[in-house]
Every structure is written in C-alpha cells, then in structure tokens.
C-alpha cells in the first residue's frame, strides 16, 4: 500500500508541476493574474504530493517494508532506527526522491516569501522551479523508481511498481532475511547528515537561479533579483560548505587514511559550485554599491547553477570513477541534456539582454586597487580555481577521450600544484580588499591598515616556529592566511573602538550593534576569520603530518613526536546493537609520562554483508594542537596478545572543523536582516515619546 501511495503521489506531483508550468506562462504572457495564482497553488500542491511520497518511503523504511526494492537494498532488520531513517538517501533512488522533495520545498518557501514583494518576477520563478522539479521527478519515476516492488514470476524476480501479470509478491520473511542493509561505509553520523547538507546546498541554488532567469526573461534587470535572492544564495552556500566539511570529516573518520580531501572528482564536483557561488556573493556587492558587473553577476549565477547540475550529473551517472559516486545509471544522458539545455538557454538570455543594453554597467572600472578592482581580481582567481579544478577532474579526461582516443587522468599532484598559488592569491586579496575604498585606489590607507595586522601575523608566525613548523613555503602560506584573518579581526576591532569612543558603549554592546547595523560586513569578516582558521588547519595538517606503525605486545609502547602509545588490552568479539562484531584494541596515550586519553581503535565485521563486510574504525585523541589518530591493522587471532597499529599525528587538523563553525556563525550574522536607516530613525524618534510617557 505504501508503495502505491508513494507512486501515485509522485505522478500527481509531475502532473501538477506540468500544469503549473503552463499556468505560469499563460498568467504572464496573457496578463491573467488568476492563472499565476493557480500556478503558485500548483507549487504548493507539488510540495504536498512529494511530501506524501517521501513520507511513504520513510514510513516504509521505519516499518521494514521490504517488498519495496529500495528498502530491501538499503536496510535490514538489524539496523538501528537512526540508520534506517538515514537510508532514505543511502542510494540513488531514495536520494533522488529526497532531492525532488527538497526542490519542491525550496520552491514553495521561496514563492510564499516573495509572492508580495516580488510579484512581477513570480511567474518566471515558478516556471523555472517547476520545470526543474518536473524533470527530476520524471527522471525518478521513469528510471530510478524508489517505489518499485519485488515480484516473483516463476524462477524470476522482477522489479516493478505495479504487479506484472502472473507474478506474486515474495514472502516477507524471505525478503527480510535476504535484505542487504546499508553499506557499512555509510553508517556514520557524518555520512547521515553530509548528503542532506550537500543537497540543501545544491538545491538551494535553484532559487537564486530562478530569480536570475525571471529577471532575464522579464527584462527587469534592476538590483531586485539580487536583493530577492541574496539570502537564498547565502543559505545554499553555507549548506554546501558544511556538506563539504562534513564529507571531509566522514572521510577522515571512516576511510582510515588520515586525510580528509583526496581531490576525488565527486568531491571536486561539489566544490565547484561552492567556489563560483563564493565569487558571486562577493561580486553582487559591487552591483549593489556601484551598479557594475551586471552581466558578470548573471553569468556567475548561471555558472553556479550549471555547476550544480553538472556535479549532480557526474555523481549520479557513474561518469567518473570515485568512492563517492553512485552506481552507473541510465539517468546520465537525460541529466546531461538538462545541463546542456538549461545552461544554453540561460547564456542565450544573457547575450540577448546584453545586446539590448539591459546589462550595461553604471560606472566604468577606474583602478585595480579600488575595492571593485580587487573584487574583480578576487572573482578572477575564483574563476581560475574553478577552471583548474574542472579541467583536472573532467575537462582533461573527457577532452582526451573525445579528441585523442585515449584516456588521461590528473592526480592529486596536479591539483596541489595548480591550486596552491591560486588559494594563496585569494588569501592576499582577502587581506587587502577590506582595506580598499570604492571607486579609487587607496594605497596609503591600505598601508596604514596593514600595519597592526602584519605585526600580529609576525607574532603568529613566531608561534608556529616555536611549534616546530619551520618549512619556508608553509611559513609563507601561514603568513598570508593569518594576515587575511588578522585584517578581518582588526577591522572589526577598529569599528568597536570607534563606537566605544564616540557612543561610550561597552565592547560587547558595540560589537552587537555593529553586527546589527551592517551584518553583511561584520558577518563577512567573521567568515574571513573562519576561512583563515580552516586555511591554517589545512596547511598544518598537510605539511606536518607524522606517521609510524608498529606491532606491539600487550604492555608494549611506541613513540611518535613526544607522545607514547601503550597497547593496554584486546577486547575481541564485542557485538553491537546493529549486529556488527567489533574487535577492539585499547590503547593509552601518554605525554611526558602523563596519561592523556584511552583510545579504542577497532575492526568491525558485518556478518550480513556479502561484499563489504569489514571496516577499520580509527580512534583519535583530538586537541587544538593536533589529532593522535590510531588504526588497528591486525592482531594475533589466537593469543590476542599482540596487535599492529598505524599512528598518525595530524597537527592543527581540528582548526579545519572549528573554522567551519566560525564560518557558520559568520553566515548566520550575514543572513540577519539589516537594521535600516528608516528603522533606526523610527527607533530614535520613539525615544523622546518614551521619555514623554515616562514623565507623564
């Protein structure tokens, strides 16, 4: 019954979405507002129908309805409830349904919130969003139906949504006993929330791109489309960023190689829209302040969304070889066609509007060292990074195959070599751009503004040297990254001091007032601090990682970088709630004779899994200074008195995760509504009245 409910709800969503597309077009082009209202209602109904569909699949997972093929594939009776629920996005079909539902949710929310304020853009916003939602939902039911059931016809097991003639449903006991369960690699908290965050980021860009499309289609190329979509962009951007960081955390915890970013094509595919989206978030400030970069901003938004669809296509089609990609699927060609047609349509619209003069800038560029000049450079570097990573991940392999009848790939050394100078250039710009002025170069101001941050940077470098981080290239990297962070801190400090001096506010009140008056600037500074913290973490953990391995008897010790690890005991055959059997080594961590922590690296065995049935789970002792990361490689099965360990010391790695938290805080401030001059005036004018009331 659940399968039928979900299947019907999905088809209903498709039908209503198609109706909504037609209704929105009629509403706009025939100037019939009632049709636009009807299209808006269609958006809500699509959301409702897909909510029913995803609800049906979720209930199926919770109630263990193994008749549904998807549920049989990703869960089994031994799995805890939490992982049974997160199995919703554990494989292609479920995650595609989740994707469609998110699209419909973003559409419904953006339409509801912008209906009054941006009514003129709404028909095309709806048209764009419903077209994309209808496409993905159609793809879902036609190729990757999550509601297909298993049927037995003689000696054959079939997968179909509706009962084929002569087939019967297999016995539930046969299904539950043979159910496969979620891939053990995905049974991790990071993996449970990493995909939804990534999807929120990817799908979130649908809203700003819909506004860009509406602006291009209607010719309303004022700043309105940017204002309407800025918060959506920022929301999508932070979700995507968090998804990337959590993906890194999952790789670090689960894959057991001591790292978190492998320049894998699928990782890169998610990183590309984030990069270009970051360029866009910087660039729109110039259009808002100076009326410049209008075409460029449109192009960046199109590039961001195009990268989203391309990344989805690359990951879901099986186009690239990656630990993260889904199985090879037939959705590849339709998704490629979608990517191509959406990108081409939007580029065509930009060219058309630009030729008609609608995207002409209000001011010319005057100086490279003006703020807009530096922002342009920042955009250039982001674009260069985008091209470099795209070329390395997809461009070079595809070009070589298409034109030279050979396959080439570019390894991590390509990415490290090409992106490192570009990232450092970005940090230089992060350091100096906040000190520049609008419209003209302000070298003197920059020089003065850099004085104290440079001094603080030198002190920071001294600290790193004391830690033993003395390689010259890394000190240059640390210096540039720290300078960018200190400039942001110092600029905030100067503003706080100014308020303290002139308004006699305490520092906390001044900081809060600043964040409320100009959340974008001070949220942005905090984001810069977060990025600088992440940058330092990446440099430290990449350049100064230490590793060793040893076989120890119980009571035996190994030393690395001033730490001593003692193998205390072995706890074999522990059975966990989900049926996995855990073999655990207990390891004590000591420094200067002092006990710091007890770690429990282990090897898990999943008896029900046929293919992937063992997993090495690392244990780590984490401090701000470093991680002591221990893997249990092997042990004496019979006596259990000796075991082999691999140990990594990853300096500063936790700054990567802490930096991400700072990034969230900065984005939250950036999303906060600005206290406008009008509101301030009103509040100030209320003060005498309050006094008057008080006196009365």
């Amino acid at each position: 019954m659940l399968a039928e409910i979900g299947f019907i709800a999905t088809w209903l969503a498709i039908a209503v979405a198609l109706y909504g597309i037609v209704a929105s077009a009629i509403g706009y082009y025939r100037r019939l507002p009632a049709w636009t209202v009807s299209a808006r209602n269609a958006v809500y109904i699509v959301f409702g129908a897909l909510s029913i569909a995803i609800g049906a699949l979720l209930i199926g997972l919770i109630t263990e309805n193994y008749h549904i093929a998807y549920i049989w594939t990703v869960s089994n009776p031994n799995m805890p409830m939490f992982y049974r629920m997160t199995a919703l996005w554990g494989s292609q079909a479920g995650s595609l349904l989740f994707w469609c539902w998110l699209m419909s949710a973003f559409s419904a929310l953006s339409v509801a919130l912008n209906w009054r304020t941006n009514n003129r853009l709404m028909p095309h916003v709806i048209l764009f969003q419903l077209t994309l939602t209808a496409f993905f939902t159609l793809l879902l039911v036609a190729i990757e139906n999550p509601f297909a059931r298993y049927w037995v016809a003689g000696e054959e097991v079939l997968q179909a949504a509706l009962q084929p003639a002569g087939a019967v449903a297999p016995a539930m006991t046969a299904l539950s006993e043979s159910a496969k369960g979620l891939n053990p690699l995905l049974r991790h908290f990071g993996m449970a929330i990493h995909p939804p965050l990534l999807y929120l980021g990817f799908v979130g860009f649908l809203v700003p791109c819909a506004f860009a499309f509406a602006a291009l289609a209607t010719g309303d190329l004022s700043i309105q489309w940017i204002k309407a979509s800025r918060r959506w962009t920022l929301t999508a951007w932070i979700f995507l960023g968090l998804g990337l960081v959590l993906g890194g955390r999952w790789a670090y915890d689960v894959l057991g190689w001591g790292g978190y970013w492998g320049w894998d094509p699928v990782e890169n595919a998610a990183f590309l829209p984030w990069l270009i989206g970051t360029a866009y978030l910087h660039s729109i400030m110039i259009q808002e302040k100076r009326g410049m970069f209008k075409t460029w901003n449109m192009a960046l938004m199109v590039a961001t969304f195009s990268a989203v669809i391309f990344g989805t296509f690359a990951t879901r089609s099986g186009l690239v070889e990656s630990v993260h990609s889904f199985a090879r699927s037939d959705i590849g060609f339709p998704m490629f066609a979608l990517w191509f047609s959406v990108t081409l349509t939007l580029i065509g619209l930009i060219i058309w509007r630009r030729a008609a003069g609608g995207l002409r800038d209000d001011h010319p560029m005057t100086s490279f060292l003006s703020r807009e000049g530096l922002f342009l450079l920042n955009n250039f570097v982001f674009l260069a990074l985008f091209i470099a990573i795209f070329w390395g991940s997809f461009g070079a392999p595809i070009t070589s195959e298409l034109f030279f009848d050979t396959k080439i790939t570019l390894g991590a050394e390509y990415f490290l070599g090409v992106t490192s100078p570009l990232f450092l250039a970005l940090f230089i710009l992060m350091g100096i751009a906040p000190l520049s002025g609008w419209g003209a170069s302000a070298l003197r101001r920059m020089g003065t503004g850099l004085l104290i941050p440079s001094t603080l940077t030198l002190l920071t470098l001294f600290g790193f040297i004391l830690m033993g981080h003395t390689k010259a290239p890394t000190l240059i990297g640390y210096g540039l990254v720290a300078l960018a962070g200190w400039v942001a801190v110092y600029e905030t400090y100067r503003a706080v001091r100014a308020r303290q001096t002139h308004l006699k506010e305490n520092p906390v009140a001044a900081l809060i007032a600043l964040a409320r008056r100009n959340p974008r600037r001070y949220g942005g500074y905090l984001i810069h601090v977060g990025v600088a913290v992440i940058g330092i973490g990446i440099i430290g953990s990449t350049a100064y990682q230490r590793e060793t391995q040893a076989t120890l008897s119980v009571g035996g010790e190994l030393s690395l970088d001033g730490y001593t690890l003692r193998y205390e005991q072995f706890e074999g055959g522990q059975i966990a709630e989900d049926g996995r059997i855990m073999d655990i080594a207990v390891v004590g961590v000591y420094r200067d004779g002092q006990h710091l922590a007890t770690l429990r690296p282990r090897r898990d065995f999943f008896p029900q899994q046929q293919d992937m049935n063992t997993m090495t789970i690392a244990a780590a002792h984490s401090t701000l200074e470093n991680d002591i990361y221990v893997l249990l490689l092997d042990w004496d099965e019979i006596s259990q008195t000796s075991a082999t360990f691999k140990v990594y010391i990853n300096p500063l790695i936790n700054l990567v995760w802490w930096g991400a938290l700072i990034l969230i805080a900065g984005t939250a401030i950036g999303l906060y509504p600005t206290v406008t001059a009008e509101v301030v005036t009103r509040r100030v004018s209320d003060v005498p009245n309050a006094f008057a009331k008080g006196r009365a």
Partner: protein, 182 residues
C-alpha cells in the same frame, strides 16, 4: 538609469587628453587582464604536463602501450586468493585481471575476468600500504603507479569498489535462495 557620455573634440579633430586617458585606462586593464590570463594558462599547462597519467587497461600496459617506468592509471579485477598482506611491514601484493575501461555491466565483467584464466593478469605490489577494507575478490581496483622491469606493477594509490557498488544487478538470486530453502 541611462548614462550619457560624450567626447570633447579639439579644433583639429584630435581627441582631447581626457579621451586618451580613458583609452589608456582600458588598455591598462586589458594588459593586466592578459598577463593574469597568461599566468593562469601557464600554471594549467605546466600542471597538466606534470600530473598527466594515461588511463589504460592491463592488456594495453602489458603490450607495451606505455614505456616501463612511466606512471599510469590502470583498472582491473582483484583476484581474491592472490592477496598477500604483511601488517608488520605494510607490504601488500595482489593480482588484478584485465577488464575493459568501458563496459555496460561492470559487475559481470569483473566476475568473468576473475574466472577467465586466459585474461591478462598483473601482479601489483604496494609498500607502506594499509590493506583497504574493500580489497577483496572481484573488487574493481583503480591503481596509479608504474610497471617495472621485474614485471610487477608498483602501485602508489589504489581506489577500490566492491561489486555491490555497481548496482544490485541480480538481487533476485538472494531472494529466491531464501524462498527455495522454505
């Protein structure tokens, strides 16, 4: 809002210094832009040449498509019984059998490659390598490294996918097996 611009002409028809200044500004940006684009192109080309690896099959590698010692990327089916791992030294070796680069049913291709005694095979050696959990019979191994004079492939990195990652091609077998037991 429309911006109106004009250029003041001098009596002899020559552009005024203001016009020249604007032209110079544009030229300055064009030169700056070209230098930056050039720098990025140089970075990309040198990075590509330095990091380029041919992705070839085991059959191609063994037939000498790439010279011995050149770093390449290959794909093959892992033969489970050939896996030898010493956790004390972290020495890992295994044999991979040839599979085509593009095949519609990779799980089937891996299965057949492992069973086919005539399929070209290659011994892989990796030093200082923790044995990956996914290294098992019929897993797809994507390796970077180089073929050496001794006929062994010295791997630097290995990416593995177990058969279940290629889709549930034959889920019915498991269900029928349980049903037939009843």
């Amino acid at each position: 809002m429309t911006q109106i611009g004009w250029t003041k002409e001098s009596l002899d028809g020559q552009a005024t210094p203001r016009f020249n200044a604007k032209k110079w500004e544009r030229l300055k940006f064009a030169i700056g832009g070209l230098i930056l684009v050039g720098a990025v192109v140089v970075l990309l080309v040198s990075g590509t040449l330095g990091g380029l690896r041919y992705f070839i099959t085991i059959e191609d590698l063994l037939s000498g498509a790439q010279p011995v010692g050149q770093s390449v990327r290959i794909t093959g089916a892992v033969i489970g019984e050939s896996i030898v791992y010493d956790p004390q030294t972290l020495d890992l070796s295994f044999t991979v059998a040839h599979v085509p680069l593009d095949t519609p049913d990779l799980a089937q291709a891996l299965h057949e490659a492992v069973l086919d005694p005539d399929a070209p095979r290659l011994t892989v050696y990796m030093g200082n390598q923790v044995k990956p959990d996914l290294l098992r019979n019929e897993a797809q191994a994507i390796l970077t490294g180089s073929l050496q004079e001794d006929g062994r492939f010295y791997g630097e990195t290995v990416l593995l996918k177990c058969p279940s990652r290629f889709g549930e091609a034959h889920p019915g077998e498991a269900i029928l097996a349980v049903e037939s037991e009843r």
